[in-house]
């Protein structure tokens, strides 16, 4: 589904991704962990198509297409979804109105007819219930005045509405209390399907108690330096990252 080979990317001439490789197959959940500044969020931004980053080398194939050639909106229309680490507040743009436009344009791209108004409203209602998002929030301006937890739940709500094939969750668990964390994880688990994959970027093992990953990758200095199963996350939680850095040292 997603194949990243030797990806190098820079911002303002500073290289952040330094030969990143990752293979994601349908149905899989990948967790990416790593210390601050290792390039996790840069990876998410580059995949979503943020213009601030320059890709200098490597390739990303997504569902058979060259992802890096696509505009951000076409990446979304092809089924890529990024749950933002810092969801943007957009005063005056209603959540519902914007999702209606987004869904309409995605369906048009896929050659599907627009949803009937009543079908759209039913979808909104069902998906809202899934992330326990109050109806009033869905009608408000995008993320404006939302608490941290509401913003993250709103990201999962949008994901549920847009039904991507690959979802990247960029530190969606950061700043969430345990109740909000459960709601977010529950939303993700309900969206799990054989033809849908997740890349979960996180600082904390705790999330992975709720979203069980097939693979745990450790990212350091712009690369994946270690891969394991969910036990690796527990080990990282216990011992921190220094032992991995030490393991790497002889090779430097």
């Amino acid at each position: 589904m997603l194949s990243i080979k030797n990806l190098r990317a820079a911002i303002d001439d500073k290289e952040i991704l330094k030969g990143f490789n990752l293979e994601v197959k349908p149905g899989e959940i990948h967790a990416i962990m790593g210390p601050n500044g290792s390039g996790k969020s840069t990876l998410a931004s580059v995949l979503a198509g943020k213009e601030d980053y320059t890709v200098t080398e490597g390739e990303v194939i997504f569902n058979g297409k060259d992802l890096l050639e696509l505009s951000p909106e076409d990446r979304a229309r092809e089924g890529l979804f990024l749950a933002f680490q810092y969801p943007v507040e957009i005063p005056g743009v209603s959540n519902i109105n914007f999702l209606k436009t987004a869904l309409g344009e995605i369906r048009q791209y896929k050659g599907l007819p627009p949803l009937e108004a009543k079908d759209f409203l039913k979808l909104v209602k069902d998906k809202q219930a899934m992330v326990e998002l109050q109806g009033s929030l869905a009608n408000r301006s995008v993320n404006e005045g939302f608490s941290g937890g509401e913003k993250k739940r709103n990201e999962i709500f949008q994901m549920a509405m847009l039904e991507p094939t690959l979802a990247i969750l960029d530190e969606t668990d950061s700043g969430l209390d345990i109740d909000a964390l459960r709601i977010v994880a529950n939303g993700v688990n309900q969206l799990k399907r054989n033809d849908r994959a997740f890349v979960v970027i996180t600082h904390y093992q705790r999330l992975l108690d709720y979203i069980i990953p097939d693979f745990v990758h450790v990212m350091y200095n712009g690369q994946i330096v270690k891969t394991g199963n969910k036990d690796l996350a527990l080990e990282l939680e216990e011992k921190g990252y220094d032992w991995i850095k030490k393991e790497l040292e002889p090779s430097i």
Partner: protein, 437 residues
């Protein structure tokens, strides 16, 4: 005083003035008010480049005698009034063509003792005392050449009078359809009086009869909001791309009165809006908002003046602009808080979005505060579209065009939502959505 700038025009304008003085129905007071205004106009001349008030809005075209000052008598009447009426069925429509009231197309109830609506000529004959008192009462206080010229020579326009205690619940929509192919100067002058404890809502829309019409409108509205009266006065300026439009809306509020106004500008070539509000009673409230969405070579200059003369008054202003292409905008907002105006709350905000490197916005807040127990604030920002918000929307599958449109509508919406007439608000939303396509 410099009179050089009007030399080319002076004889043509003087001829028009003589004609008005000699032939238009009048009273002694009216004659003297017109003569006084004409004298001031002659002393001032059209504003020169050096005039600080017109620093960003060149008025050279006026001194170059590009206009025909004689009243254009040939009214073009192949106007589809019905289509205007259909645009909003929840209001009473009044039609003015080049300022002339088209009675047969307008909804004016006869024998209605709540509200009187007629043209200036009729008002002068029927209500000479009111006209003597109120015509040019506010313009006298406004030292502006265009307003003085208007007061001197205007013969068209409306007289709207709401009797005390009368609540006019159905909004009145005044549709101006301006038309001239001879670069005519069109002078329109309203006198609007809302007596004590009355309520009135006016929507005033400006259109051109066709895209090829070519004219200049010099418009004055004097609005007298008496004690405890409520007046809503909303305006949509949507003339063609040749139209030059100058207006002075001069408002006086008495104690406990409310005035709510909104100036929405999307059409026209060169516009200057003067909005002066004198709060000369205690506990007045006034809201003045504006939105301009302009493109091409359009120029829109909004000058506001809120004069807090008495204690416990509140004024709020929010002006927003979306400027595309090579368009230019000006916002100059003056707030005076006089010595006696303690406990004043006065707020002002100007926010602008530039969508092109060639668009220009000039903003100038001017606060002069002589009282010591007041709350006043002003803020101004001019920027581009929020790139983070744009990316967020694109990352959800929206095309750049629809993402930008959503953001612009959201930006404009703040001002539109301040409008209290639902039917006008929904009209505005449609018009603005089209305008941002």
């Amino acid at each position: 005083m410099n009179t050089v700038s009007i030399q080319n025009n002076s004889s043509a304008i003087a001829e028009v003035f003589e004609n008005v003085i000699n032939h238009f129905p009048s009273t002694n007071e009216l004659k003297s008010a017109r003569s006084k205004a004409f004298q001031i106009f002659n002393e001032m001349g059209f504003p020169l480049k050096t005039n600080e008030e017109y620093k960003y809005s060149s008025t050279e075209k006026f001194s170059k005698n590009e206009f025909s000052w004689k009243d254009d008598q040939s009214i073009i009447l192949n106007i589809d009034f019905e289509s205007y009426r259909n645009s909003n069925k929840e209001v009473d429509h009044i039609f003015l063509v080049n300022g002339k009231l088209i009675i047969e197309e307008s909804s004016i109830a006869e024998n209605n003792n709540q509200v009187t609506i007629c043209d200036l000529k009729t008002a002068t004959l029927r209500f000479p005392d009111l006209i003597s008192t109120y015509y040019a009462k506010n313009t006298k206080e406004f030292n502006d050449a265009f307003a003085q010229l208007n007061a001197a020579i205007a013969t068209n326009g409306l007289f709207i009078h709401v009797a005390p205690n009368q609540i006019i619940s159905k909004p009145i929509q005044v549709n101006h359809i301006n038309s001239s192919n001879k670069s005519n100067a069109i002078h329109i002058h309203h006198v609007i009086i809302a007596e004590k404890l009355s309520q009135l809502s006016i929507i005033e829309n400006f259109y051109s009869a066709s895209n090829s019409d070519n004219y200049m409108v010099n418009f004055v509205a004097e609005v007298y909001v008496k004690e405890s009266a409520f007046v809503n006065y909303y305006r949509l300026q949507n003339e063609n791309s040749n139209a030059i439009h100058i207006n002075a809306t001069l408002v006086t509020q008495a104690a406990h009165s409310h005035f709510d106004t909104n100036t929405i500008t999307i059409g026209g070539k060169w516009l200057r809006n003067n909005l002066n509000i004198a709060l000369n009673g205690i506990q007045c409230e006034t809201h003045l908002n504006g939105l301009q969405i302009i493109k091409g070579n359009q120029h829109v200059d909004n000058h506001t003046l809120v004069d807090h003369q008495m204690p416990h008054c509140e004024s709020n202003q929010l002006y927003k602009g979306i400027l595309k292409d090579k368009s230019t905008g000006v916002f100059n907002g003056k707030i005076f808080v006089r010595k006696d105006a303690q406990k004043t709350n006065a707020y002002q905000s100007s926010k602008n979005m530039l969508l092109s490197d060639d668009a220009t916005m000039n903003t100038k807040p001017q606060l002069e505060i002589y009282a010591d127990d007041v709350k006043c604030s002003h803020g101004s920002s001019t920027g581009q579209i929020d790139e983070n918000a744009l990316f967020y929307l694109k990352a959800r599958g929206l095309s750049p065009a629809s993402a930008k449109k959503l953001l612009m509508i959201a930006f404009a919406n703040d001002v539109i939502q301040t409008t209290k007439i639902a039917s006008f608000k929904s009209n505005l939303i449609d018009i603005i959505e089209k305008c941002l396509e």
